[in-house]
């Protein structure tokens, strides 16, 4: 996860003299920080996925083809709590909408066609978007996007595999508190997105809706109803502060 600090550091730097060196080393440091965070994140996802009932193959295929941490966590979370396939797919898809917004920003910046465009789309995630949009020039933005996207893809999938194998070997996930780790993972993903008061109200409302509906409707549905609540509030409230989609994209 690129933190706001990392991004502003990448974005700073001037245009002359030995600044290029400084820029390269700050970019490298940011990339390293993103790499370590992604590795740890992949490890926990792999372990949680197998704890939720996916086998190692399913976990790896999901990471290779969905390649969006938030959506992947949501999908295995709903599978793990006994939700239907439809609600798991819908929730993962709804969480994936923000990647579409990233694509809108990245498309003119990257200016690629045909198969490269599909590849760029696949690598469009929080981290690559954050690094690309923080660069001072178009050239650096492109380099930042492809390096971060490819780097995260390799590290994420490698560590998901390692986590899945480790999770499989651990046995009963509850004994090791892996179910609580899933709650904490969602909270950590949510945390940086709570900066505006409106976001905090919506989060609180979503918690209430989810808890109240849990005994009343099939598993997976309360989460989707909470999303509907957000659409209603987002569409009809004028006082919230609108911000670009990447602004809240610290963690996948």
């Amino acid at each position: 996860m690129a933190s706001a600090d990392d991004r502003s550091r990448v974005g700073r730097g001037g245009a002359e003299g030995r600044v290029a060196d400084v820029e390269r080393s700050t970019a490298l440091r940011a990339a390293l920080a993103v790499g370590i965070a992604v590795s740890a994140y992949g490890l926990s996802f792999g372990a949680l996925a197998t704890a939720s009932g996916l086998d190692v193959w399913q976990t790896c295929v999901l990471s290779l083809f969905m390649f969006s941490g938030g959506s992947q966590f949501a999908l295995v979370g709903i599978v793990g709590t006994g939700g239907s396939a439809a609600s798991a797919i819908a929730t993962a898809g709804l969480l994936g909408i923000r990647n579409g917004f990233y694509g809108v920003q990245l498309s003119p910046l990257l200016a690629v066609r045909s198969w490269r465009r599909v590849l760029a789309a696949h690598l469009t995630i929080d981290e690559s978007t954050a690094v690309a949009t923080a660069q001072p020039t178009v050239r650096l933005a492109r380099v930042g996007f492809w390096l971060t996207g490819a780097g995260v893809f390799v590290l994420w999938n490698a560590f998901v595999l390692a986590g899945a194998i480790a999770g499989n070997a651990l046995g009963d996930p509850k004994r090791y508190g892996l179910d609580a780790a899933a709650s904490a993972a969602f909270l950590a993903l949510l945390w940086p997105r709570l900066r505006t008061p409106l976001a905090r109200y919506v989060a609180a409302g979503a918690v209430v809706v989810a808890v109240v509906l849990t005994p009343a409707v099939p598993s997976g549905v309360p989460v989707l109803v909470a999303a509907v609540l957000a659409v209603v509030v987002g569409w009809w409230s004028g006082r919230g502060h609108a911000h670009p989609a990447t602004e809240d994209g610290e963690a996948r």
């Binding site: 959506s71 966590f73 789309a121 509850k174 904490a184 987002g234």
Partner: protein
């Protein structure tokens, strides 16, 4: 879920997510710049994650249960307030739940 159903979920979910990514790159994006659309999209993410935190912490199927997950989540929240990195937050939560369960909490 049967292994086949899980496979269908994994593949269909992946297809939906890739299609959404591709749509952003291909569809002309003027509508997406509308503040109302951007704000709604951001809030949907917030609501989904918040609801997932709730369900993952107190739901067991369709039952509401208070067990070791709740204090573990509180520890995670404290860690986030202290700006701990992702892996520390997750490990502390797992450790808390594991210790409480070893001490006899459900």
């Amino acid at each position: 879920m049967s292994p086949t159903t899980i496979w269908v979920t994994v593949l269909a979910g992946s297809a939906v997510c890739l299609a959404l990514k591709l749509a952003g790159h291909v569809v002309p994006g003027t509508w997406a710049a509308h503040p109302r659309v951007a704000r709604t999209a951001a809030l949907v993410t917030v609501a989904l994650l918040a609801a997932l935190v709730a369900v993952q912490t107190v739901a067991s199927g369709r039952e509401l249960v208070i067990d070791a997950r709740l204090p573990a989540l509180a520890v995670a929240a404290v860690a986030l307030v202290l700006r701990a990195p992702f892996i520390v937050v997750v490990v502390l939560a797992a450790l808390t739940a594991a210790l409480l369960r070893a001490a006899g909490m459900p």
